[in-house]
């Protein structure tokens, strides 16, 4: 998040006075300390009528067709340029629901805290969660907190699950992809992964690269309302980057994918960082980014609408679905050569040679 937002958060949600300043095992015991932790302001921060029931589960009304998604979040360090694990956990699940064509409504929020976590850090994460929920217009309706011994966690792990109603105009699925579909990326690639890399010990560099984590649901719903049935697939290329997502889609279908390196939007600093560390941006994680497979007939107008959205200023058509090489993703390099894009064996490591 931008620094101005961070300041706003600290001003609107100062940490309450507490008689403890670190998390201990007792805070996850379910007893007095757990209640003390929750009453310290967690409930106030995330308050809504369903959460206030303080029951083990939430009872909610939903329409017939709902989307349901879950994701766990572990990022090291938990604070990074452009955000923290809290908003990542909200945005991640919100976006997974949005990719189903759903309007996200309710989230569960489950913490695994490491003994010794500073309460100030936990508070900052909680405040980020509150604002991320407000931005996405979702409510946390049920939750859980557990504490693990020092050394058995990495400060804080978060699981969120979410549900939302599928938009009546949405008709999204891999089987809907057709030969000729255009593939549109909503913005600059590889930003989140390189923001994290910029502060990784031993590899760090100075930059103004900020994670692109954000909620995409309003952007997506706007597109669905305008283009409905012509949007065939939406997917967010988080871990593994756009190469992995495209390859997965190609592998589970009977068509191929062509993409063009010259059309891949990327920030100059991100591109330079990738060159410095020998990392292929195609495989770097993204957060507030999505790929759309849309009917060729609407591709240009879809792009125009997206480029007018705050989350799509750098959107571009990067390729298309073809029948010439089933299961393969082929990239045309900037000098016009062709190569196959495959999955990486494991985590991408910086290289010297």
């Amino acid at each position: 998040m931008p620094d101005s937002n961070k300041l706003r958060m600290q001003l609107t949600c100062p940490m309450p006075k507490l008689d403890f300043d670190i998390i201990t095992l007792g805070h996850g015991s379910g007893g007095v300390l757990t209640n003390k932790l929750l009453d310290s302001g967690v409930f106030d921060l995330l308050t809504n009528d369903i959460l206030e029931e303080r029951h083990d589960g939430a009872i909610i009304n939903m329409n017939e067709k709902i989307a349901f998604s879950t994701d766990s979040f572990l990022v090291s360090p938990i604070f990074f340029p452009g955000g923290n694990i809290g908003e990542l956990a909200v945005n991640g699940t919100v976006n997974d629901l949005a990719m189903c064509g759903a309007v996200p409504k309710y989230l569960s929020l489950s913490f695994i805290l490491e003994e010794g976590l500073k309460m100030t850090e936990f508070w900052e994460v909680l405040v980020a969660i509150k604002f991320a929920c407000e931005n996405a217009n979702v409510k946390v309706v049920t939750g859980d907190t557990k504490v693990v011994e020092k050394g058995k966690g990495d400060k804080i792990f978060i699981n969120t699950s979410g549900i939302g109603n599928v938009h009546p105009k949405a008709n999204i699925g891999k089987t809907r992809i057709q030969i000729g579909d255009k593939i549109i990326v909503s913005g600059n690639i590889a930003t989140h992964g390189m923001a994290i890399m910029s502060i990784r010990e031993g590899l760090e560099f100075e930059s103004t690269i900020q994670s692109d984590t954000t909620n995409l649901n309003h952007t997506i719903i706007n597109l669905i309302e305008q283009f409905g049935n012509d949007i065939h697939l939406l997917t967010d290329p988080t871990r593994g980057g756009i190469a992995t997502v495209l390859k997965e889609i190609a592998l589970t279908s009977d068509f191929g994918v062509d993409i063009f390196q010259r059309d891949l939007p990327m920030d100059d600093q991100v591109a330079s960082a990738c060159e410095l560390l020998g990392i292929d941006p195609l495989y770097v994680a993204n957060e507030g980014l999505f790929l759309s497979f849309v009917d060729a007939s609407i591709a240009n107008s879809f792009l125009e609408v997206l480029q007018n959205d705050k989350n799509g200023k750098n959107a571009k058509i990067i390729g298309s679905v073809v029948d010439t090489h089933p299961n393969q993703v082929i990239l045309e390099s900037s000098i016009g050569g062709k190569r196959v894009v495959s999955m990486l064996p494991g985590e991408q490591l910086p290289r010297i040679c």
Partner: protein, 364 residues
């Protein structure tokens, strides 16, 4: 980025490709010595753009790939069994030793850190006075000054808990070994531009005249490589065999003399074992006696025997350019980047891994 993006111009690439096609009149085999050039060739799809008469042969130029099994085993042993923080470049981590890789050792709890620069390892040693810090110093001549510099920095700071596990390989002796191999059929070389940045071009003159091969010192961007290929082909077609410098914006005739001084302050030349090839005389660096206390080989007196290579791996033939990766019966079958049988499949710079990633194999 300036001095980089201009060498990726598609229109200029087209001009070079047209010019190469016009110049070639018969089949030629050209070896790019350096793994970085292999990477650039496949990543940019250049191989398929070249005229059919030109065959690119991928040389042994990946220091990560040719680091011997016993050294990897030793690094793993240090990280697992001793009070050591083992620091390494990222590409070394996935390379399997005789049993496991450093990445697997890390998963088992060994203290292993990935660094961008060996100078960072010296800082870590300063911050952790109660731990031994070992830098796994792999590399060609290009990396030798930085690795040597780390020893000098540690010495200057008076650190007694820093050492390097040196696995340095030298390019010219390997080129000579490749030319000398009866089975190899190489007509010309693209020499490794960044190695020459340090060492200069002098070592290549005797090779070129003695074996009658054109050697063109070449950079790494697509236009560099295409220009290098054109320069080799022009020589071959004109029956000329000299050393030329395509990468003159970076490589000086005499190399970087300050860097050479640093190298030979810390290192001396020794015979070196290359994974997949064997021992090549005078093809590596060892830490000099003067800096013995910074030599992990001496500091930790462990001997680890050289483990045998996988019997089905034909990496020697691959790295000498006798066979192409896909001519290996195990390529993409038993042998994949996630389960490499031998050296060239282990790093993305290795010829087999480069082919695997960019040339159509699917790993599910």
């Amino acid at each position: 980025m300036k001095h980089m993006n201009e060498y990726r111009d598609p229109e200029l690439a087209k001009l070079y490709l047209e010019k190469i096609a016009k110049t070639v009149t018969q089949p030629w085999s050209i070896m790019e010595v350096c793994g970085g050039q292999t990477h650039s060739l496949v990543k940019n799809g250049i191989i398929d753009m070249l005229p059919k008469d030109i065959t690119m042969i991928h040389g042994p130029g990946c220091p990560v790939c040719v680091t011997s099994l016993s050294l990897i085993d030793k690094a793993i042993h240090l990280a697992v069994n001793e009070n050591v923080i083992l620091c390494s470049f990222g590409d070394m981590l996935r390379v399997p030793g005789s049993k496991i890789s450093l990445l697997e050792a890390k998963a088992k709890g060994a203290a292993i850190r990935i660094l961008y620069s060996p100078l960072e390892a010296v800082k870590i040693a300063g911050d952790n006075p109660d731990r031994e810090v070992v830098f796994f110093a792999v590399g060609f001549e290009t990396t030798a000054p930085a690795n040597a510099l780390s020893v000098i920095h540690a010495h200057r700071k008076g650190l007694s808990n820093y050492s390097i596990l040196a696995s340095h390989v030298l390019v010219p002796p390997a080129m000579e070994a490749v030319i000398n191999d009866k089975e190899s059929k190489i007509d010309g070389f693209l020499a490794a531009g960044h190695v020459c940045t340090i060492m200069g071009n002098a070592e290549y003159y005797p090779l070129s005249s003695q074996y009658k091969v054109p050697i063109v010192v070449t950079g790494f961007e697509p236009i560099d490589i295409l220009q290098g290929i054109l320069m080799v082909v022009r020589q071959l077609e004109q029956k000329k065999y000299v050393v030329e410098n395509q990468y003159a914006r970076i490589v000086r005739e005499e190399g970087n003399t300050a860097a050479q001084k640093v190298i030979f302050e810390v290192f001396e030349i020794k015979d070196q074992t290359w994974r997949g090839i064997g021992t090549i005389p005078k093809s590596g660096y060892a830490v000099k006696e003067k800096y013995a206390s910074y030599d992990a080989n001496k500091k930790f007196s462990i001997t680890i025997d050289e483990a045998p290579e996988h019997p089905e791996c034909i990496s020697g033939e691959i790295m000498k350019g006798i066979k192409k990766p896909f001519e290996c019966p195990q390529f993409g079958k038993k042998c994949k980047p996630s389960f490499p049988l031998g050296a060239p499949m282990v790093s993305s710079e290795g010829a087999c891994a480069a082919y695997f990633h960019f040339s159509g194999s699917v790993e599910v």
